[in-house]
């Protein structure tokens, strides 16, 4: 089982900590063993040096050269359709689900509870049919 997610130029990363946490960016250059330079013109992440402990590598990459300008980076993102690809991953979907759940009001939580009950009632009925 070799490594496949390398911290390389062009790797899409998710920022985990700091004011821009929750956004994705690209590794544009590696500074040293602990830090890299990231940039995310499409996602609103400023070009900055960030330690690896604050980011998480994803499976996605874009084809750029080391130290690419923001303009080139933006074009590369658009070509690779990075934003749509990212939002289609279950990782991104789970993050957005968590965000949505945090904004639910008491009434919304009641509606969710009723919907869950209805769903399990349908499933239970089907299971009974199948097991009969």
């Amino acid at each position: 089982m070799p490594f496949t997610r390398y911290a390389e130029v062009g790797r899409i990363v998710l920022v985990n900590y700091g004011p821009e946490s929750g956004k994705i960016a690209t590794i544009v250059d590696i500074v040293d063993q602990n830090k890299c330079l990231i940039d995310g013109p499409e996602s609103g992440v400023a070009r900055q040096v960030i330690p690896f402990s604050r980011i998480a590598l994803t499976d996605l990459t874009v084809k750029i050269q080391r130290n690419a300008r923001a303009k080139t980076l933006k074009a590369a993102w658009a070509e690779a359709e990075t934003t749509t690809k990212w939002e289609a991953t279950s990782w991104a979907k789970k993050l957005s689900m968590k965000k949505k759940r945090a904004t639910l009001t008491d009434f919304d939580r009641f509606k969710v509870m009723v919907a869950k009950k209805q769903k399990s009632a349908i499933i239970a009925k089907k299971m009974e049919e199948l097991s009969a």
């Binding site: 945090a102 904004t103 639910l104 009001t105 008491d106 009434f107 009641f110 509606k111 009723v114």
Partner: protein
Amino acid sequence: MVAASGTSGKSPRYYPAEDVKAPKPSYKVKQNAAKVRKSITPGTVLILLAGRFRGSRVVCLKPLESGLLLVSGPYKINGVPIRRVSQAYVIATSTKVDVKGVDVSKFNDDYFSRANDPVKAEGEDEFFTGDAPKAAIVSDERKADQKAVDASLLKAVAAVPMMEGYLAAKFSLSENDRPHKMLF
């Protein structure tokens, strides 16, 4: 001290023969209008946190002068009658019901005063033996008022989908709930 008439600094030209006492400042406590939380308006759904109906979700009808809130279940939905409730023991949700059509002008703090309750004569025997809870005597006036208010309130509640079931359900916290992070 007599207020100096004329230019200050010089002794006044005229002052009364006897000293006139200036009125002392009144230390009576001034009552301001009761402050109601911004999140509580007529029609807000409230969660009662204490008292007989704790856990019930209830519709706020109006704030009273004493600072308490006038509230109704509606009675048909969750058994909470027209009642006063303290703001401190209530969670105000962001859910609202349109109660513009409900007439609550006749309700104020005097309506709920104990002096109005029908007197229950308690004989000596009862004092020593009877401790079983007696059924509460609800006056006919209260029942009629409840019906009148709920008639229009139920219509407002029916206008919002799933609101009836929501008001009938009780609120409780389960293991993974973090109330300081929940939005109400």
